[in-house]
């Protein structure tokens, strides 16, 4: 009852060995399942919808942050997901670079991911949105003149150019506020500064950002501002490792 969604970049020959290692390990552990290659299908939403309807229990993205984003976007915009969401688990087997989401789940290497799938340590997390896109970990703001409006009550003005992150699920083990961030509390956490002394921490439901610039979602996707950031209604159950970077 597993579906492995392979991203199309894995067709390149340099990933062949890693894929082979994963497939051998999954077979050894008895975790075989259906393999869906994104390169070969046009409508990923329809394919995932069909799998959820057919009673698939585990959906595993094989690839990087972008793969995770594509797969989760398809799962949650699925009409049937709301009904089945308690039963469907999501996880990731990281291959290649740009895998901060998998790392935050406590999954560092592809073979380790197979063992974690077998252990089935499940945690529910929120899914955040920025405009029409979703993200799991964080949205980083790249702007010199942004005005950040919090829950329609007040807004922040920056006195100097600084590092601003809107965190849903923490991916930074060294973050000063790490223990204050709860991954399933329906809240976003705005962090300014982060590791140094001059830092700001604000919890909110909804954040509007105006001005000029961009947001980087999960180190992958660029979203222009102005935009609105919040938490969507559905949550997602994920299989995580014990070394995950969030509560």
């Amino acid at each position: 009852m597993n579906a492995y969604i392979y991203d199309d970049f894995l067709n390149k020959s340099r990933y062949r060995r890693a894929i082979n290692r994963v497939e051998i390990r999954l077979t050894d552990l008895g975790l075989n399942g259906k393999i869906i290659r994104l390169g070969a299908i046009k409508n990923i939403k329809d394919v995932i919808q069909a799998e959820i309807k057919n009673g698939i229990k585990n959906i595993i993205a094989v690839g990087n942050n972008e793969t995770v984003n594509k797969v989760i976007s398809s799962m949650i915009t699925n009409k049937d997901y709301g009904f089945f969401q308690k039963d469907v688990l999501f996880s990731v087997i990281p291959i290649g670079g740009n895998n901060s989401i998998a790392h935050s789940f406590g999954i560092k290497k592809e073979e380790e991911a197979c063992n974690i799938l077998l252990a089935r340590r499940v945690q529910q997390i929120d899914i955040a949105y920025a405009g029409n896109n979703i993200f799991l970990n964080k949205a980083e703001l790249l702007s010199n003149d942004a005005i950040i409006e919090i829950d329609d009550d007040y807004h922040l003005e920056l006195k100097q150019k600084t590092n601003i992150k809107i965190i849903n699920v923490n991916d930074d083990n060294y973050l000063a506020f790490k223990n204050k961030i709860i991954s399933s509390d329906n809240n976003l956490n705005l962090v300014v500064g982060g590791r140094n002394q001059d830092n700001t921490f604000i919890t909110s439901k909804r954040i509007k950002i105006s001005g000029t610039g961009e947001l980087i979602l999960d180190e992958t996707m660029l979203v222009p501002i102005p935009t609105e950031i919040g938490i969507i209604e559905q949550k997602i159950n994920i299989i995580v490792g014990k070394d995950r970077s969030f509560n």
Binding site: I150, D153, Y154, H155, L156, E157, L158, K159, Q160, T162, F177, K180, V192, G193, D198, N199, T200, F201, I202, T203
Partner: protein, 133 residues
């Protein structure tokens, strides 16, 4: 909120922390402890505690359970229980609280009302809530 030496323990568990590089404008309503090291304009209200740091500038009315003020405040302060005013504090506005301590060197321009009733009301209310629970 305060340690044995009477000094403020800058709570690590504060719900909201406004850093020195940030200016907040608007109505700030919180449920937990709030630490302000930057600037705030508007109003500040919480059912918990407020710490205003040495370099903070607040142009707002403050309403909280307990507070320690070490920075500059232009506005009225209403504290249900204990208010501690540090030596670096500069307050332009009226102060109302249940209990107060003012360190030598602090500057206050305004009326100060210290009424233990406010403090007791807070405690009574808390007791009632506990009984109901």
């Amino acid at each position: 909120m305060f340690n044995k030496e009477g000094k403020f323990e800058k709570f690590k568990d504060a719900e909201t922390i406004i850093g020195a590089s940030i200016k907040v404008k608007g109505n700030f309503n919180g449920q937990g402890d709030i630490v302000i090291e930057g600037s705030l304009e508007g109003s500040l209200k919480t059912v918990a505690n407020v710490f205003v740091g040495e370099k903070a500038k607040v142009s707002a009315n403050i309403d909280a359970s307990e507070a320690l003020i070490a920075g500059e405040i232009n506005g009225n302060i209403k504290i249900k229980k204990y208010l501690a005013i540090g030596k670096t504090a500069k307050i332009n506005g009226d102060v109302q609280c249940g209990e107060i301590s003012i360190e030598r060197g602090a500057s206050i321009t305004g009326q100060i009302i210290v009424s233990s009733e406010d403090s007791k009301k807070g405690e009574n209310k808390k007791e009632k809530i506990e009984l109901e629970a």
